[in-house]
Amino acid sequence: MAKILRFLFFTLIVRTVVLFVLGLNVRHRERLPKQGRAIVVANHNSHLDTLVLMTLLPLKLLPKVQPVAAADYFLRNKLLAWFVLNIIGILPMKRTRANRAEDPLAPIEAALNQGHILIFFPEGSRGEAEQLTDFKTGIAHLAERCPDVPVIPVYLHGLGKALPKGEGLLVPFFCDVFIGEALTWTGDRLGYMKLLGDTMHKLAAEGQFPAWE
């Protein structure tokens, strides 16, 4: 039942909002993953980011797509928890560890091993609208543990204008999506983080965005 609701939610509501109310300009669409065992990483400015990334992937992959999201924020009440777990289909991740033995990346690794495509926001939270904040190193730890999983960087622009953090009113804007080449594990975390950061800035530089102050 929840699976049908999820399918309907994404075909009818999410696609209408993302493709008609907003509208996307997608650059390098061919670089998106075509099957499971992949991680899509993107900058994060809005709740819409997840919905846009999920719309970019073909519907037949929907059962395999899982956004990784903060457990403390999205599971804070029962109704929201039901919605995000069953309809959005998030993979909840704990941002703080209960004890040193706990491994927050274990569920993510398990999902990848089931052939899932994960959506990951290395900034950790949405931050100020339309500003790129530093990436946290969680993604490097993950890449180190699963070096054969392609990591596809995506730069999103405009969604922080349409629905920034703390706002409930959606204002339509065309949004830009720049998809990068899949990254491969570099052998060390620091080098990997630098590669990811540089790739994101290069993707951002492909676009020309009007002022928003």
Partner: protein, 311 residues
């Protein structure tokens, strides 16, 4: 009565449009066959987009008058969204932009009701007074003038101007069918004028007309385009409009000249912002505003011209 009883003239004109498109497509296939070395990617994309656009337009015109009006409303929405996405905006104004979007269903509601008085003053008077007030209520004064000026200009070109095409559908007189014929006449001649100016310019263009704004535009393209459009306007007028020969001659000149001004006006905007296309909605053409830039001028000009003389 909601469905459009389309006159045979309108249907035959649509057939004619598809005929022209068919000829252009065959020509393109021939070109690809005889000159395979030539890069025709953009021409193919453009032609394919024309098929899609003309089919959507035909459906919108044939299904019912309500569908036609909603279609132009959607066109305004997409155009305003494209405009607001390329110009600088202030984050404080999110809610003001939302009000600007709300003006679209309201403006097209007046069109649907055929309430001319409200249709013609709603945006230039009421929205013109309301939007700055809404900005003042938010209280951000930095770049206030730029923000209100650019927003109102955008609503004027994308909503007010374009809604004039839709109002042709509800003009009183010999029923809705006449309105659909006028829409077809205006839209076809406007788009034809764009193509004609482009082709004349490509073939004979040498003297630049507005070099600082649009360096590819030439006097030859402009004059040749206006002449061809005027000729066609005179030929089609008895079929689709109530206009007499001298008036259709004037209407043709108005559309040819207006279309050119709309085109270069949007070129000036793009040059100021530093972009080539207003978006990527229509493959081979660019954005929606790139496609309807001429209509921004021709729609109100032609509308008030026929309305003054015939309605």
């Amino acid at each position: 009565m909601n469905t459009l009883a389309l006159s045979p003239a309108v249907l035959w004109s649509l057939v004619g449009v598809y005929g022209l498109l068919g000829i252009a497509t065959l020509g393109l296939i021939g070109l690809r066959h005889w000159r395979p070395a030539q890069d025709t990617t953009e021409l193919v994309q453009r032609t394919r987009s024309w098929w899609v656009m003309i089919t959507i337009f035909t459906l919108a015109m044939v299904l019912s008058r309500t569908v036609s009006i909603v279609f132009f409303g959607i066109l305004s929405f997409l155009a305003l969204k494209e405009y607001l996405s390329i110009i600088p905006t202030r984050r404080a104004d999110r809610r003001v932009l939302f009000w600007a979007y709300l003006a679209i269903p309201i403006q097209y509601y007046w069109v649907g009701q055929g309430w001319y008085g409200m249709f013609i003053i709603f945006i230039p008077v009421y929205l013109f007074l309301l939007l700055p007030l809404r900005m003042v209520m938010i209280g951000e004064t930095r770049h206030f003038l730029r923000a209100i000026g650019t927003l109102h200009w955008g609503v004027m070109i994308t909503v007010f101007s374009i809604s004039h095409v839709a109002y042709l559908l509800v003009l009183p007189g010999d029923a809705a069918a006449g309105g659909a014929a006028l829409v077809l006449y205006l839209v076809f001649l406007t788009e034809f004028n764009d193509v004609a100016q482009f082709v004349w310019g490509k073939l004979f263009g040498s003297h630049k007309i507005v070099p600082t704004v649009s360096p590819n535009k030439t006097w030859e393209g402009f004059l040749g385009g206006v002449a061809t459009t005027t000729l066609l306007a005179v030929v089609l007028a008895p079929l689709l409009t109530p206009m007499t020969l001298p008036l259709s001659l004037a209407a043709g000149l108005l559309i040819g000249l207006g279309g050119f001004i709309g085109d270069v006006t949007l070129s000036a905007l793009k040059r100021d912002i530093g972009i080539k296309d207003t978006g990527g909605l229509i493959p081979g053409h660019g954005g929606l505003l790139d496609r309807i830039d001429s209509l921004i001028y021709t729609a109100p000009l032609f509308f008030h011209f026929v309305r003054y003389f015939y309605y």
